[in-house]
């Protein structure tokens, strides 16, 4: 069982054939207004009334491709825009600019009614299992709702059978259906949330920090469940996390984000063996390891800039030990590296950094 999982799990990364892409994100941008409604934006400046707006630049030009059957992990620190990417992909947010293509068709501009057929194919798992289940609905009601919506012709018995099936799949006894979410532990609730996502038999799942709110021993249970589901249902994941240990274990490829931009994309093994971007290197050296003899972590200087006033040029230049004049001026673009990844760094491009 173990070896089988390992082999199939790594398959998409190992063969160098360009796999079929399921989701393509091009030049995605998302800004949030900080200034409230129109009346609140009017300010009195030097005797004149002017309209002022401040924005949080949550994502600024993200290009990502998710290939069928892989688990693409997006890592980064809080405020780097990784959750915004997930929510934009799922249509919970409307992008300010850019396009999202799913299986060849553009979906980011669709109205919610037109999006319905895609909703059946892509589902989402949320971070907080305590908030993602409606406290006033029983588990049975929670799980029946998506099945009924997407399979209007099914009989009540078919719906009930399907609910029992997904509950068994995630390891919750089907007779617990008439209970409410709060009667379950955090790990069980996350299983139920996974069951809700699996209930419509999707092919693509966006998981936004699905295990961050759980205890270590429960994290392992949920990760195992997600990996089993991937194997049995041939799922594709977009997995958002800040935990690099989880990425190393779970991901086929990794995208590292910083302040709304992707700074490095690479197959997992490559990235962990040889991180190229200075930020990725700092991030990896900062993970607390159990071993005693680890190298000292790279200390970053400077503060994390806020996404309200983005720095010019490379967003990382203020904390980067190798930043030069060009980094402060020019935004780096993703370039392909020799080992199958992509990195957005002038230093790597110029050969200043290895």
């Amino acid at each position: 069982m173990m070896t089988a999982t390992a082999a199939s799990h790594r398959a998409p990364a190992d063969d160098q054939q360009p796999a079929e892409s399921l989701l393509e994100i091009r030049g995605l941008e998302k800004r949030f207004s900080l200034s409230g409604d129109f009346l609140e934006q009017l300010k009195f400046r030097r005797g004149r009334i002017v309209r002022e707006q401040a924005h949080v630049h949550a994502i600024n030009g993200v290009d990502l491709t998710v290939q069928r059957g892989e688990a693409l992990c997006v890592v980064g620190e809080s405020g780097c825009g990784k959750s915004t990417v997930a929510r934009t992909v799922m249509g919970l947010l409307r992008p300010t600019a850019g396009e999202i293509h799913y299986d060849g068709e553009r979906i980011d501009h669709l109205e919610s009614r037109a999006l319905l057929p895609w909703r059946k194919r892509m589902q989402m798992i949320f971070q907080n299992p305590y908030a993602s289940l409606n406290p006033r609905m029983t588990i049975q009601q929670t799980l029946e709702e998506p099945i009924r919506l997407h399979n209007a012709s099914w009989t009540p018995q078919q719906v009930r059978d399907k609910v029992a099936e997904v509950m068994t799949d995630v390891g919750i006894a089907p007779d617990w259906g008439s209970r409410y979410g709060h009667e379950f532990s955090g790990g069980q609730r996350q299983r139920i949330a996974i069951a809700r996502a699996l209930a419509v038999d999707p092919e693509f799942i966006v998981a936004d920090e699905p295990i961050s709110a759980l205890d270590v021993s429960i994290q392992a249970q949920v990760l195992n469940l997600l990996m089993e589901a991937q194997q049995e249902r041939n799922l594709t994941y977009l997995f958002i996390t800040h935990d690099l240990a989880v990425v190393e274990h779970f991901g086929t490829r990794v995208a590292v984000m910083y302040l709304g931009r992707v700074c490095e994309v690479a197959p997992t093994a490559t990235l962990f063996a040889r991180p190229r971007h200075p930020y990725t290197q700092a991030l990896m050296s900062a993970i607390p390891r159990l071993e005693d003899d680890r190298p000292q972590h790279l200390r970053l200087t400077g503060e994390v800039p806020t996404p309200v006033n983005l720095p010019s040029g490379c967003v990382f230049h203020g904390r980067c030990p190798a930043a030069n004049e060009r980094c402060r001026r020019e935004v780096p673009r993703l370039i392909a590296t020799d080992d199958g990844g992509q990195v957005a760094c002038h230093g790597v491009e110029e050969g200043r950094l290895s």
Binding site: P135, R136, T168, G171, G187, N224
Partner: protein, 320 residues
């Protein structure tokens, strides 16, 4: 997924029924421990019962002119000299049995109180849900309307509308539809209270992930609003409903006292107080005082229940 062991909550009993859930709930627990709440509930239920069964409880029908004995007017209650044992609480200026009149008046007051609150709640909940969930322009528009509405006092609106209706349709028509007119006026004047409370809790609920989950599922906005968000905003709605019922009863009494409420031929508690007010000077204090006391007790127990409910349902105080 054969390798995953099936897990279930620690207890293995059958899921509890609704009644069991209620008995195990914090609501029931705190009710059992709160004497004030129990007493208020008792008095409140007695009042409701008295109002509902007024036609059977009352010894005479105050609306039936044939039963009124004008000679027996202004008789004092039983503990005062000169009382008639037929009229326990005495009679009013028109010779109606005061107890019977109060029972019927209570009925009218409670009908107006609950009716107005149902109207307020329906309007307020719909607008509040819409404003909170949709946001943007709809929100801005509805909330500005609510602000404008709130800046007129309920009484002022009621006085203007009441006076207009009276002037246009005449006093007789007004009397016939007074109950429903009052329900309409008080209901329309106070919906912003609900809309604001509902909107605030919708905004809080909207940011929770179960709403996102429902959206990702592809559910329509209407279903998300009414099936997912509304049930989770019920606690504050219950709390303000108690306060609003008491307010509506008071508003009605005030309007009646000003002569713009229920006519004296079909009195509510407020118009009873008003009708007796002229006779205080002549020594017939009971015609005003007894209905006044009943009004105070009704409003007090409703407010006490509301306070208790707010303490229990307040999530910050709630530690179960």
């Amino acid at each position: 997924m054969s390798t995953t062991t099936t897990t279930a909550p620690a207890t293995t009993a059958a899921p509890p029924s609704r009644w069991q859930r209620f008995r195990d709930s914090f609501l029931f627990y705190s009710f059992k421990r709160d004497l004030v709440a129990q007493l208020s509930m008792l008095v409140f239920l007695l009042m409701i019962a008295a109002a509902v069964f007024a036609p059977w409880l009352a010894s005479m029908n105050p609306y039936d002119l044939a039963q009124i004995d004008i000679l027996a007017s202004e008789l004092p209650p039983f503990w005062v000299d000169g009382s008639d044992p037929m009229y326990v609480m005495g009679t009013d200026a028109q010779g109606r049995d005061l107890l019977s009149t109060i029972l019927h008046g209570l009925r009218v007051s409670l009908i107006i109180g609950f009716g107005a609150v149902i109207l307020q709640a329906t309007l307020g909940v719909c607008f509040g849900l819409l404003a909170g969930y949709m946001g943007g322009r709809i929100d801005a528009f509805l909330m500005r309307v609510a602000d404008i509405q709130l800046s007129f006092s309920t009484l002022m609106v009621a006085i203007i509308v009441g006076a207009l209706v009276k002037a246009i349709f005449g006093g007789a028509t007004f009397s016939d539809y007074a109950v429903w007119l009052l329900v309409l006026i008080i209901g329309l004047a106070e919906w912003p209270q609900y809309a604001r409370t509902v909107r605030a809790s919708v905004l809080a609920e909207k940011s929770r992930e179960y709403v996102d989950a429902a959206r990702v599922m592809g559910l329509r906005s209407r279903r998300i609003m009414f099936r997912h968000i509304l049930p989770n905003t019920l606690s504050p709605i219950f709390v303000i409903s108690t306060v609003q019922v008491a307010n509506a009863i008071i508003s009605e009494a005030a309007l009646s006292f000003l002569g713009l409420g229920m006519p004296e031929t079909h009195p509510s508690l407020g118009s009873l107080i008003k009708s007796g007010f002229d006779y205080i000077q002549s020594g017939s204090w009971w015609i005003t005082l007894i209905p006044g006391l009943v009004l105070v007790v009704v409003v007090l127990v409703i407010n006490l229940l509301g306070d208790w409910l707010r303490d229990v349902l307040n999530p910050r105080l709630y530690k179960g």
